[in-house]
Structure formats: C-alpha cells, structure tokens
C-alpha cells in the first residue's frame, strides 16, 4: 500500500512538467501522453534502484528524454541537421511582442528548432534547471549545454521575430 501511495505521489508531483516537456519535444498530444506514461511505467519497474530520492525529478526527465530519442531513432524520420554557428547579437524580439504570442505560437516556433537544441531550450525555460542539471538530463558535457542553449535561443529568437501575434 505504501508503495502505491508513493507512486501516486511521484505521479502527482511530476506528471504535469513531464507532459509539458514531452509535448514541447513532440508537439503531439498522444505522443506526449505516451511518453509520460512510459516514463512512469519505467519508474514503477526501476525507480527503486534510485538511491538518492532527491534525484527523482532529474531521473524522470532523463528517462523521458531517452525514450523520446529511442522512439525517434526507431522512426528514423528526423535527420540531424546542424545549425549555422550562432554569431552576432541575439535577434531583438521586443518583450511586448513576445507577450502577444500565445503558447501555441511559441511551441510552433520551438518545433522548428533542431531536436538537439530543442530539448535543452525547453528544460531551460520550463523547469529552471541549472546548466549542470540540464547536462545531467541530456547526458552531455556542461560546455555542450551552453553552446546548445546559445545556438538554440539564437535560432528561437530568429523564429519569433517572424511570428505575427494572433489578432
């Protein structure tokens, strides 16, 4: 009984942010739900192996990201394309015009980012993860996190300058 309650408590705390992460990666409600469920399924089977209970959140995000990459690899329909180096100033998107965008438009812009950058950018905004935590979730070095964030944000802001707020 205690284990059931523990499972329900972990779900209650983390299913929302995990779904948001999954949806930002996939832009598909059904896929996002599947990924979230699959993550908790793996948690139910292997979560007891986690010694440090404070790492539950990172563990769940890492697992979801791995599942996402695994599914993408199986589909093999997303070839990896390197972005040009981000140079120069960040494109100036006035905060007021960003304010006029809705979440849907932001997600649409995010979906045009290469997957490699998208995951880092979503974790950056969604969860207030530190650079080190993002490195842990994505299993990449700290320097790579910073360069992916710089390039990803640069590209995202470029995309946002072309989005017209809905009237």
């Amino acid at each position: 009984m205690a284990r059931v309650l523990e499972f329900e408590s972990v779900v209650a705390h983390h299913y929302g942010p995990l779904y948001q992460f999954a949806f930002s990666l996939t832009r598909n409600d059904a896929e996002a739900c599947d990924l979230t469920q699959q993550t908790f399924y793996i948690w139910a089977a292997k979560g007891h192996q986690l010694r440090d209970i404070s790492k539950v959140k990172t563990w769940l995000f890492t697992t979801l990201h791995r599942e996402f990459l695994g599914a993408r690899r199986r589909q093999t329909r997303f070839p990896h394309i390197e972005l040009d180096d981000a140079t120069g100033d960040l494109p100036a998107v006035p905060p007021a015009s960003v304010n006029q965008l809705d979440s849907e438009q932001l997600l649409e812009a995010l979906s045009h980012l290469d997957e490699v950058y998208r995951a880092a950018v979503v974790l950056f905004y969604l969860e207030d993860y530190s650079y080190n935590e993002i490195a842990q979730v994505l299993d990449i070095p700290l320097g790579t996190v910073k360069s992916r964030l710089t390039r990803g944000l640069h590209r995202l802001h470029q995309l946002l300058t072309n989005v017209r707020p809905k009237t």
Partner: protein, 120 residues
C-alpha cells in the same frame, strides 16, 4: 570582455535562477552595471526570458492523464500479483505432485504374505 561578448554570454541568463553562479555569466553581469546600453539590452532580455518561461508553462496536461497513469499502474500491479499467485500455486502443486509420484514409484515394497504362504 566587451559588450558584444557579454550579450552573447548573457543569452543563456535567466532572471530568478542561479545562473549568476557561473563565473562567465558573473563576469558579463559585472559589465552590465557599468554599461548603460548593455544595461538596457539586459533589462529587455530579462523581460523576454520571463515572458517565454511563462508562456511555455501554460501548456496544460490533459485532465485525465494523471488518473490514467495511476489506474494503469494499479491494473499492472494487480496482474503481476495474480501471475505471482498462479506461479506460486503452480509451484506448490508441482512439488506436491512430485512428492506423491516419488512416494508411489520409489516406496519400499511391503512384505505382505503372498497367497502361496497360506495353504488351503
């Protein structure tokens, strides 16, 4: 470090998060205080970051998702427990059968007197 380099570094700065603990960002932030143009850019950047963060967090999970996860977990747990019970009962039955079979097959022959020992 000049103003352009500082902007590049501060691209990944978020207000309200411990990003300033990063030495590179801390150095860029110290430049912000002494450069009015950079300071204006930085204020806009922080406002933009806050808005983007808020917008992304507005994505709401489907109402039924939590219940679905919990009920599927409960169903899986019940099924696993049933499988465990069936396996256990099967194992006990197999042991009992093996013991009975062994008892029948390898029991020492009894020394009951044969009919020829009772003449008449």
């Amino acid at each position: 470090m000049n103003s352009t380099q500082a902007k590049q570094i501060l691209t990944i700065y978020r207000p309200g998060v411990a990003d300033a603990d990063d030495p590179e960002i801390a150095e860029a932030l110290s430049l912000v205080r002494s450069d009015p143009e950079l300071s204006r850019w930085f204020d806009e950047h922080c406002a933009r970051q806050n808005v983007l963060r808020e917008k992304l967090r507005q994505v709401a999970p489907p109402a039924a998702l939590r219940e679905q996860i919990i009920s599927e977990h409960a169903a899986r747990t019940r099924a696993a427990s049933r499988r465990e019970k069936i396996t256990m009962v099967g194992a006990v039955a197999a042991i009992a059968f093996a013991r009975t079979a062994r008892g029948i097959l390898f029991a020492p022959q009894s020394h009951r007197p044969s009919a020829s020992q009772y003449p008449g």
